[in-house]
C-alpha cells in the first residue's frame, strides 16, 4: 500500500490564530528565534494499488473539491517514499 499525503495550509493572507497562538507561546516556553508559525492540516491517504499519475490526478481533485476549501486554503499533494 502506498501513502499519498495532502498538506493543506491557510492562504498566506488569511489570519491564522492557531499558528499565532503557538508562536506567542514559544518565548514563554524558552524557545527563541522563530519568526513565524502557521498551522495547517496533514492528510495521510493509504492508497490501494500503485500510485500512478491517474491516482495522483484523482487525489488532486479530491483535495481541490473536498480536503481543502480553496476559498481560504492552498494544498500540496505528494507521494510519501
Amino acid at each position: 500500500m502506498a501513502r499519498v499525503v495532502v498538506d493543506v495550509m491557510l492562504k498566506p493572507e488569511i489570519l491564522d490564530p492557531q499558528g499565532q497562538a503557538v508562536h506567542r507561546a514559544l518565548p514563554r516556553l524558552g524557545f527563541e528565534g522563530i519568526a513565524d508559525v502557521r498551522q495547517g492540516k496533514r492528510f495521510e491517504l493509504e492508497v490501494e494499488g500503485p500510485v500512478d499519475d491517474a491516482v495522483l490526478a484523482r487525489v488532486r481533485e479530491m483535495a481541490e473539491t473536498f480536503l481543502a476549501n480553496t476559498v481560504i486554503e492552498d494544498f500540496i499533494v505528494k507521494v510519501e517514499s
Partner: protein, 226 residues
C-alpha cells in the same frame, strides 16, 4: 393556508428540534427533512439548522454539503427557494458556494456562547422582512468556527449590494471581517448567519428574549402572501 418549512437533519445536527419548535411558535408547519433523502416533500422554504454535522470534522459543513438533500436544496435555491442557514447551516451554505466566503476558527480559538447584539442591516430578504432596517436585536451566539472571511473584492461587493444582512454590535465575538454576522445571496432568498434566532422565540427559555421570532414570522408572511 399555512407555510411548510423544511428543517434538515444531518448526522450531528443539534438544533433541528429547536428550529422546528420555532417554526411552530411562529405559526408555520415544520417538515423534517433527512440528509439522505433527495425529496424536499413540497416544502415552501428550508432551514439548515445549527449543530456539528459530521462532527464538523474536516471543516464545518464540508461533509454535509455533499449529501443528497443538499443537491436538491442547491438546485432549489438557485430557483428562488427561500433557504436560511443558521450557524452550522451557514457553514454548509458557504461550503456549498450558495453564499460567498468561508467560516474559520474564532480568532480567540475558543467556543463562545453568549447573548449577542446584532443590527439588522437589510430587512428586505425573505427571512428579515418582519424587522426594520437598522433594528437592533439580541439573540444567542454559540460556535467555535464563526469567523467570517472573504476577499476584499467580495466584501466590497456584499456591502455595495446590501447583502450584509446582520452585523455584530458592541463586540465582534470572533474576528469576522467587517463585523459580519450574516449575509444573503444576490437574490435575497438565501440567508446565512452565525447567531441562533431559534433560541430566542420564547420568554424565559434561553436568554429569555423573543428577538429571534421575526425570522420565522417573516418567512411565514412572505409565503402566505405569495
Amino acid at each position: 393556508m399555512t407555510a411548510r418549512v423544511g428543517v434538515v437533519t444531518f448526522p450531528g445536527t443539534l438544533d433541528d428540534r429547536d428550529t422546528q419548535r420555532a417554526i411552530r411558535v411562529a405559526g408555520a408547519e415544520p417538515v423534517p427533512l433527512w440528509h439522505r433523502d433527495k425529496d424536499l416533500h413540497q416544502v415552501d422554504a428550508v432551514v439548515l439548522p445549527g449543530g456539528f454535522s459530521y462532527g464538523d470534522y474536516l471543516r464545518a459543513g464540508a461533509i454535509s454539503r455533499f449529501s443528497p438533500v443538499m443537491e436538491s436544496i442547491i438546485a432549489g435555491a438557485k430557483d428562488g427557494l427561500p433557504v436560511l442557514g443558521i450557524c452550522n447551516g451557514f457553514q454548509v451554505l458557504t461550503e456549498s458556494h450558495l453564499l460567498p466566503g468561508a467560516m474559520l476558527r474564532n480568532n480567540h480559538l475558543h467556543f463562545i456562547c453568549r447573548d449577542q447584539k446584532l443590527r439588522v442591516e437589510n430587512a428586505d430578504t425573505a427571512w428579515t422582512a418582519d424587522y426594520a432596517a437598522g433594528q437592533e436585536i439580541s439573540i444567542p451566539l454559540k460556535n467555535i468556527d464563526g469567523r467570517y472571511v472573504a476577499d476584499e473584492r467580495t466584501l466590497d461587493e456584499l456591502e455595495a449590494e446590501g447583502r450584509v444582512v446582520f452585523r455584530y454590535l458592541d463586540v465582534n465575538p470572533n474576528g469576522s471581517l467587517r463585523d459580519i454576522a450574516g449575509i444573503s445571496n444576490a437574490a435575497g432568498n438565501v440567508v446565512g448567519l452565525m447567531p441562533h434566532p431559534e433560541h430566542a422565540v420564547e420568554p424565559l427559555i434561553g436568554t429569555g428574549g423573543t428577538d429571534g421570532l421575526g425570522f420565522f414570522t417573516s418567512i411565514l408572511k412572505k409565503l402566505v402572501n405569495a
